[in-house]
């Protein structure tokens, strides 16, 4: 009995993939098995399991996808086998190896009940403000958002981030805690531990739904965009099934379902979101909207800068 093995994150992410997986099973009769883990530990383990991959398909962050294929861990995609890819925005084809299905953003949010009445974040600059001192929460796994924002504020390219180091060091006084995962992110803001956070818009909506008063702002410089991509594991023995799965995943209806589930922006104009969701801050319905409201970096730049950023960040900001 054949099984298609998909590597993805745990929690809601897996449940999102499972929406596609159910459809896939319905159409092909092939069961789907999920193996879950963090972004980078999955990469590390994929690397050590190079010749005999654990999974057939990988669902990961775009710039990490770059690490996969630059390390020879992914098969080149045969676009002819994935006709639905043609319906995506051009930016969705991240490389010959990876294809994105949705966009989300990291953006500031805050507890309206725990911050002064007139507080709002119309610019990233607000995070440096006195009102935020000792209240900010940031992810520990990815410092890129504030760094990119800082370069934007300074008007330099991300590659020139050296120039904003002093500015970044000033942010230290704002930082209260770092979160390691979506769950801790939600916990930190829910409990009021960090009334201000740079968070994933998707998490923000979830918290709002729990009835916690938070406001999600997209600063005028733009939120920091992220995309998740699909790729086929090198040496996968079920390449054809994987391609079939990808094609289903990229169908506009499936994209709409998935993005309604997560509350994020689909990579295709043909995917129709619930109007309620389309209205939310940080949700985009066209490639232009994405490019206008969000800062998008190309994967290679991101992937090569990120280690430096992390190293610098851990060494200078986290202690």
């Amino acid at each position: 009995q054949e099984k298609l093995v998909i590597s993805t994150w745990g929690g809601n992410w897996k449940e999102g993939v499972a929406i596609v997986g159910k459809e896939f099973t319905k159409r092909t009769g092939v069961e789907v098995e999920y193996i879950t883990g963090g972004t980078l530990d999955r990469l590390a383990k994929a690397k050590v399991a190079r010749d005999n991959p654990e999974s057939d398909l990988v669902n990961t962050t775009a710039h990490v996808g770059y690490l996969y294929h630059s390390d020879g861990l992914m098969e080149k995609l045969d676009w002819s086998k994935i006709p639905n890819a043609a319906k995506l925005y051009p930016m969705a084809k991240r490389s010959d190896y990876t294809v994105a299905d949705y966009v989300y953003v990291y953006t500031p949010a805050f507890r309206t009940d725990l911050m002064p009445k007139d507080f709002k974040i119309d610019s990233w600059e607000a995070l440096w403000g006195a009102e935020v001192a000792g209240k900010l929460g940031l992810p520990d796994f990815d410092p890129s958002h504030v760094i990119i924002a800082a370069t934007k504020l300074a008007g330099v390219k991300p590659e020139e981030w050296d120039k904003v180091k002093p500015k970044l060091l000033e942010l230290k006084k704002s930082i209260k805690a770092f979160y390691q995962s979506d769950a801790t992110s939600q916990n930190l803001i829910r409990t009021g531990e960090t009334p201000v956070q740079v968070l994933l818009n998707i998490n923000g909506y979830h918290i709002q739904k729990l009835g916690i008063p938070i406001q999600i702002d997209v600063p005028k410089e733009g939120a920091v965009a992220g995309t998740d991509v699909w790729g086929i594991n090198k040496n996968s023995k079920k390449k054809a099934l994987a391609e079939q799965f990808l094609n289903i995943a990229l169908e506009p209806e499936m994209l709409a379902k998935l993005c309604n589930f997560h509350k994020c922006s689909p990579m295709s104009g043909e995917a129709k979101l619930d109007p309620e969701i389309a209205k939310l801050p940080g949700i985009f319905t066209s490639q232009e909207a994405i490019e206008k409201g969000a800062i998008v970096l190309d994967d290679k730049t991101y992937a090569t800068l990120l280690p430096q950023w992390k190293a610098w960040f851990t060494e200078n900001m986290m202690h």
Binding site: G38, Q180, T191, T304, M318
Partner: protein
């Protein structure tokens, strides 16, 4: 005493094999620590000592110092908290009391790091048990910050290491000759004097080995500082994990792991030296 050594090879072989595997694993860490990091890739390059050179930054000194400091605090508080329990455990008159004390104080050892850390998160959080109770009692208006503090981490780590400390102390206390205590009382020492002048000095070897073991243990704590420290409290293990699985700099992660190993062994050797000197001075056991 026997002329021949029956089963010598048979019984030695598996132990040697295990030791070789263990040594090989440690050797791999050593091996990686002297390889070059290629950014954006998981492959490692050739021989280099750059990873060790890279250690010479304030952050690493800080983290090392912090790791030491937290381990030492944990060892000391664990000692202070464990001694009365160990004493009660050995000296309780009723057998069922002793049994209950043993069970209560040893079982946490076996619940595992994750369960205990998670429990402390629930206990120390802003909405956690302690804050809820205090708020219900009207003692506080705003929650006290317990999570993401060094205090919170030490509170959890102390509880974590108490079972081991209690075992070591209980053994030491059980070996104190009761007649020595009686003799001291007979010579006019009040119960307090008996404790400070006889019982405590005679358990010094147990105290020292307890401190050493807990110190070394705490040096390698991972999930407690990770989850309770919330990234604000970094210990060397967290840094190694971050480097390995977040920065994907495996060589540097190996270097940090190696440093942790050296620190654990080093502090142990150092304290063993002190211990044996004190023990020799005391001429106990």
């Amino acid at each position: 005493m026997l002329a021949k050594r029956p089963f010598f090879i048979t019984f030695l072989a598996p132990a040697v094999l295990t030791a070789v595997i263990l040594a090989a694993a440690i050797f791999e860490v050593l091996q990686y620590s002297v390889r070059e990091f290629i950014p954006g890739s998981l492959n490692v390059g050739g021989f280099t000592l750059a990873n060790f050179a890279a250690l010479n930054k304030p952050i690493y000194w800080w983290v090392l110092a912090d790791t030491f400091f937290i381990s030492l605090l944990t060892a000391i508080f664990s000692l202070l908290a464990s001694y009365p329990v160990a004493y009660a455990l050995v000296r309780a008159k009723r057998d069922w009391v002793r049994s209950a004390l043993v069970s209560l104080s040893i079982t946490p050892l076996f619940t595992g790091e994750i369960v205990r850390t998670f429990s402390w998160m629930l206990t120390l959080g802003t909405d956690g048990f302690i804050n809820s109770i205090l708020r219900k009692l009207g003692l506080i208006d705003m929650p006290i910050q317990l999570m993401y503090t060094r205090f919170g981490v030490v509170v959890a780590l102390v509880q974590f290491s108490m079972p081991v400390m209690i075992i070591l102390l209980a053994t030491a206390i059980a070996h104190v000759d009761r007649d020595c205590e009686k003799a001291a009382a007979n010579l006019g020492a009040s119960p307090t004097a008996v404790f400070w002048r006889i019982t405590l000095p005679l358990t010094v070897p147990g105290i020292l080995s307890g401190i050493v073991v807990v110190f070394a243990w705490t040096m390698s704590a991972f999930s407690t500082p990770q989850l309770i420290g919330g990234g604000k409290i970094l210990m060397i293990s967290n840094l190694a994990y971050l480097q390995g699985f977040s920065v994907l700099n495996l060589p540097f992660a190996a270097t940090l792991s190696l440093i942790a190993l050296v620190c654990a062994l080093g502090s142990l050797a150092l304290m063993k030296g002190v211990t044996s000197r004190i023990e020799r001075r005391l001429a106990v056991h």
